[in-house]
C-alpha cells in the first residue's frame, strides 16, 4: 500500500475538502492541522437523538472532523491533558447518521463496522487511526481547546480543538479500503495455529 512505503507524511489543513478525502488512500500517513470537534459515547447519543427528533445540532457537522476522545483535564499552564483516541466501534451505531449530516472525517482507533464503511463510501468520508495509548504525545499537538456543547458531560463534552501536525494514518479510505484488513495479510502465519 502506498502509505506504508511513503516515508513523508501528507500535511493536510482541517476542515478537509471532499477533494482531500478523495485523494487519501488507506495506509497514508498524515499530519492534520486546524479545527476539529471531539465527541465520544454520550455526546454521540445526544447528537443522534437530536437528529431523530428533527432538532438542529449544537454545532454544524458539515465538512467537519470528529475526534473520538475524552481528554484528561489540563494541568496548570497547559491546553489539555493526555488526549489519545478511544475505541471507534462504540460510535458505529451513530456514525452513519452523522456522515449523512455531512461529517467528512473521523479519528479514532480500531475497526469499523460495514454500515459505517458503506456510509463513508456513499458520502466520500474518511476514517483516520490515531495512536491509541499515546495520550501524552498527541496532547502536544493541541493548540486550543474550547467546550462548545454538552458541558455537563465533563470529559465527554463536545470540545472544539485546534491541532497542529496531529499524527494519524488513513485506516479506511473513501473507497472502503481497510488497513485493518489489508495491513494484516502479510503477517498472518497460519502455521502458527495451535488448536
Amino acid at each position: 500500500m502506498r502509505g506504508i512505503i511513503v516515508a513523508e507524511p501528507i500535511h493536510l489543513k482541517l476542515p478537509l475538502t471532499p477533494e482531500d478525502c478523495a485523494r487519501l488512500q488507506a495506509g497514508d500517513s498524515v499530519r492534520l492541522s486546524g479545527p476539529l470537534y471531539t465527541a465520544r459515547d454520550a455526546a454521540h447519543r445526544r447528537l443522534f437523538e437530536a437528529l431523530e427528533r428533527g432538532e438542529q445540532l449544537p454545532v454544524s457537522l458539515k465538512g467537519e472532523t470528529i475526534y473520538y476522545v475524552g481528554p484528561c483535564p489540563a494541568p496548570p499552564g497547559r491546553v489539555i491533558g493526555s488526549a489519545g483516541p478511544t475505541t471507534s466501534s462504540r460510535m458505529d451505531r451513530y456514525a452513519p447518521r452523522l456522515i449523512q449530516e455531512g461529517l467528512l472525517a473521523m479519528i479514532g482507533k480500531g475497526e469499523r463496522g460495514p454500515e459505517v464503511v458503506q456510509a463513508m463510501v456513499e458520502h466520500g468520508a474518511v476514517y483516520f487511526a490515531a495512536l491509541g495509548g499515546a495520550g501524552a504525545l498527541i496532547a502536544r499537538t493541541v493548540r486550543e481547546l474550547e467546550v462548545v456543547a454538552y458541558p455537563d458531560l465533563g470529559p465527554e463534552a463536545i470540545h472544539r480543538l485546534v491541532v497542529e501536525d496531529f499524527p494519524a494514518i488513513v485506516a479506511i479510505d473513501c473507497r472502503g479500503r481497510d488497513l485493518y484488513k489489508e495491513g494484516r495479510k502479510p503477517y498472518i502465519n497460519l502455521t502458527g495455529a495451535i488448536v
Binding site: 494541568p75 491533558g81 493526555s82 488526549a83 503477517y187
Partner: protein, 280 residues
C-alpha cells in the same frame, strides 16, 4: 496490634493512582523494546517507537501515559495483626482515589449507575479486592484499568471434557476477536479454575505479574509461551494495523475447581498495563 492510620492509606492510594498513570513499568518498556526489535511491519515499528516516546514524555512531564486513566482497581492485602485507625478503611481508599485523580489531573471516567450513567465527577468508587494475610503490614496495589481493553475481555464456563484444547481455543478466540480495539500490543491475563467470579479475579491478578515472567508450573509456563507465539502469528499487530507484535505477554493464574467445571476468564489489557504497589 500495629496501628495504621487511615489518613496514611488515603495519602498512599492518592500517590499510587498518579504514579501508576504517569510511569509505565520497566517490564512493559522492556517488552515494547523487544517487540520493536522483532516487528517486521514498518507501520508497526512506527507505532511501537511512538509508544516508547510517549512513555518517556509522560514520565518526564508527569502526564498520564493514556487519557483513559481507568477505573481504579485497588488490591489490599491487610495483615491480620494490623489495625486501621482514624477512619473507615474503605472510605480511606475511596478518598485516596478521589484525591489522586483530582491532584494528578487524571480523567474522571466513572458513572454512578450502569444505566443512568451520570459521571460521579471524582472517579469514585474504586473496585477494592481485600485479602486478610498473616503479619502486621498493609500492601496496597493500585491498578487503573482502561475500558478499551476491559470491554474486550470475556469469561466462559467450559466443561471438563473441553480440556486444554478448549481453554486455548477460548483464549485465542477472545484475543483475535478483540482485534485492534484494545490497543495492541496487549497483555493477556488469564484465570483458569475456581468459580465464575474467582476465574475473573485470577485473570485480573494475572495482569499484576510482570510481563516476561512465567507461571511457576512448567506446564502452564509452556502454555503461556505457546499462546503468545500463536497470538503473534495472527497478523493483527500494533494498533491492529498489521504486524507481528499483537501481544507482549500471556500471564495465566490457576486455582482448584469443581469436578463438573472448567471456568476460564480472559482479561485483556492494553500496552499501558499499569499498577503500582506500596507496603505500609
Amino acid at each position: 496490634m500495629r496501628e495504621i492510620a487511615a489518613e496514611e492509606i488515603t495519602r498512599v492510594v492518592a500517590e499510587l493512582c498518579q504514579e501508576a498513570n504517569f510511569y509505565l513499568g520497566e517490564d512493559l518498556i522492556a517488552a515494547l523494546k523487544d517487540g520493536l526489535a522483532q516487528e517486521l511491519s514498518p507501520v508497526g515499528q512506527e507505532c511501537l517507537r511512538c509508544l516508547l516516546d510517549n512513555a518517556e514524555l509522560a514520565r518526564e512531564e508527569r502526564m498520564p501515559v493514556c487519557q483513559d486513566t481507568g477505573m481504579a482497581v485497588v488490591f489490599a492485602d491487610l495483615g491480620q495483626e494490623a489495625m486501621v485507625v482514624g477512619a473507615d478503611f474503605n472510605q480511606a481508599i475511596e478518598e485516596g482515589v478521589r484525591r489522586g485523580y483530582r491532584e494528578g489531573y487524571l480523567r474522571k471516567s466513572v458513572v454512578n449507575d450502569p444505566l443512568d450513567r451520570v459521571n460521579t465527577g471524582d472517579n469514585t468508587p474504586p473496585v477494592v479486592h481485600l485479602r486478610i494475610v498473616p503479619g502486621d503490614r498493609l500492601t496496597l496495589t493500585v491498578a487503573p484499568k482502561g475500558f478499551g481493553s476491559e470491554n474486550m475481555s470475556a469469561l466462559k464456563m467450559l466443561t471438563p471434557a473441553q480440556g486444554v484444547e478448549g481453554v486455548k481455543r477460548f483464549i485465542l478466540d477472545t484475543v483475535l476477536q478483540a482485534g485492534g480495539n484494545p490497543c495492541p500490543p496487549v497483555v493477556v491475563g488469564v484465570g483458569i479454575g475456581g468459580t465464575m467470579e474467582m476465574a475473573a479475579i485470577l485473570a485480573k491478578r494475572a495482569l499484576l505479574r510482570p510481563v516476561g515472567s512465567s507461571h511457576a508450573n512448567p506446564f502452564y509456563a509452556g502454555m503461556e509461551r505457546e499462546l503468545l507465539a500463536a497470538i503473534n502469528q495472527s497478523g493483527i499487530g500494533p494498533q491492529g494495523l498489521g504486524g507481528r507484535i499483537t501481544a507482549l505477554g500471556v500471564n495465566i493464574e490457576t486455582y482448584p475447581t469443581h469436578i463438573a467445571g472448567l471456568p476460564v476468564a480472559v482479561n485483556i489489557s492494553c500496552h499501558v498495563t499499569r499498577h503500582r504497589s506500596r507496603t505500609l
